[in-house]
Amino acid sequence: MKKYDLLDAVGGIKPAYIESADKSKKVRKKHTWKALVALAACLCLVVLSIQLLPKVLGGRTGDGSNAGDHLLADGSSEFMSYKGPVLPLSVLKGEDQENLSVHRKILYDFYLLKDKQERDKANLSFVQVKDIYRVENTGSKRTIKFLYPFVSSVDELFFTAHRIIKDGKIIESNLHYGDFAGYFSAAYGSQKADETLNLENINNWLDFQRMLSTTAYLEKAMEVQQDLRQIPVTVYEFKDSYYPEDRQDVENPTLIAGLVFDKEKTNVLSLGFNGFATRDNDQKYYMYSIPKKSETPYIDDHHYLIIVGEDTSSLSIETQSSGGWDAYEEGNEAKRNDLEGAGAKIERLEMSLEEALDLALQHLYELYRQDIQSTVSDYRSWQPSSWEESDKSVISYEDFKELYVREILQFGVLSENPIMRYEDGSLESFDTRNAQRIFFAEFELELEASKEINLSIETYKKGSMDFYGKKNSAGVYGYDLLNHVMNALEINSTEAEIKDYGEVEIIRQNFGFDLKNDIRTVQLSDDISHYYMEVMAK
């Protein structure tokens, strides 16, 4: 009997036992009902399922032959998980493109299919992309600043970050970060159109093209960050949390901080708190679990309340033997504050918002770094060379902080129009790491007179896919590119090549590949803005 067998067999126990355990007495952490709905709804899956499910299950659209597929006007699919197109090399506004002859070739290499022993449908979900430019300068010597845009999230940068190679040598680039490329929507089932609880990524190429049809998005990415050193804040730092050593019967010692403030004059950001409530005539409560000796404390048992604006008129501290807000319900007062001899070292500090965010974000940065190291390790079998050789697997702390600051000011409680999704003020709730955005790799090239250079921009890309439905059962992945965006480098000719190792079937495309007849390299037309292919394993 293998070790998984018993755990698997547990799955088949009586449903009544499962339902009973599921409904058995819970200790609830308080969230607003809105936040609960947001947590319960899958970020893309539920909302997209409303749009796509009838079609996916053979419903009411399509021409019959494509029943179950949601097709855009150019014949490409709209995927539930859309990873964004390959975007063309661009130049900074005002750069001189005169006397340049440029030939482009895009190579899609399904390198994971090389080893037939290991191939399975998942290996089609990952491809190496080489975007190769042969640039001839027919004029005088000059230096040109380029931008290479690409779609990714911060968390995925460890494989999407591009290697830029000029004549065989890697050249350095600076990364600029675009804003979150999607939008916020209402919770599933809600009738309130102005709710902003769910994160929605872009799911088709037209929206990306629209975003890059002007320079506004790029200009925002290159904006200088607001100076937060001029904004004074009060910070309450909680650390060295404790509870009586002789109270080993207490399974979840909890500390609750209560603040009283005027919402019109004060906003609160927090780190290290995982329960939020408004009780007792608008008093705000923030809760965290006091770590036990056997536990590894979350972020080293550091917790911060960052008060922007007027300080609280009172800070109350209560400790209780269990988490949850039951004790704050009418009639349960006896359970409230029932853990004597517990607390934390609390210090009130005055500093700038910049310094306060430094205190908090360094902890989140360390968690991010550890997560990415672990993920890189998980993906090791897929990488042909070590990603760890590159410093690009994690962004710098300065960039990490800049992104968080931008999003706190744009979407958080400090914004003029705060998003409901972040209304608790918890820094951990921001989607800075996982939100899809456009990055811009900026680099400079010196072009000698009457000489040609070879520029290869290499990355890895995940395929766009559907979570379920006909395409899912077929293991279909989509890869696409845009030919035109604002300030794209003017190209004389474009070629595309696929390396499929005889293991790929293209079920939908407009590239013109014909694998059966060994046509794996094709010329692309400048008249077509969007090229796509949707592939599955043979």
């Binding site: 067999a9 126990i13 009544a16 036992y17 339902e19 947590l39 399922s49």
Partner: protein, 158 residues
């Protein structure tokens, strides 16, 4: 929406059955899969495979009063099967810990001769749970079916 109504949607082949299921149970199902696979994308794939399985199994099944248990059984099995197929894949630390705990429950060699059918094993476990108090049973199920950590179990039951 209550389970009976959701099951009715499946039986009448109404596509909103899946969106209703996802809305009601999606996050719980993903959590179960993540506890095994330690990978968000794999957990999401398992969740969606579960919806497909549910669509294909209802009818003839009609889990009007135990829909979550029905779905949970599917996703657990899919995720554990994924583990069986990809032996080199990194597991969630808790899942690894629980498999080791289970391993210690098997007497003698770790690979007993012959394979017990899963349903026979389930019946044996049921018989064991029948002998337990409700509290003991709930803790066992929370640990080995839901993959709760000890801290989570303690938070739940105070």
């Amino acid at each position: 929406m209550d389970d009976a109504r959701i099951v009715e949607l499946y039986l009448s082949r109404n596509e909103s059955a899946i969106s209703q299921t996802a809305e009601k149970y999606g996050s719980k199902l993903r959590r179960i899969a993540y506890s095994i696979l330690n990978n968000q994308e794999s957990a999401e794939e398992s969740e969606n495979d579960t919806y497909l399985e549910a669509w294909n199994r209802i009818p003839p099944h009609e889990p009007r009063t135990y829909l979550f248990a029905f779905l949970g059984r599917i996703i657990r099995h899919l995720a554990i099967d994924e583990c069986r197929r990809n032996a080199s894949q990194k597991r969630h630390a808790l899942f690894y810990e629980l498999t080791q705990e289970m391993q210690e429950c098997i007497p003698g060699k770790s690979d007993v001769e012959g394979t017990f059918a899963a349903d026979v094993l389930s019946q044996v476990i049921d018989a064991f749970l029948d002998t337990c108090s409700e509290d003991q049973r709930n803790v066992f199920v929370r640990r080995y079916w839901f993959f709760d950590t000890i801290t989570e179990i303690c938070k739940r039951y105070g």
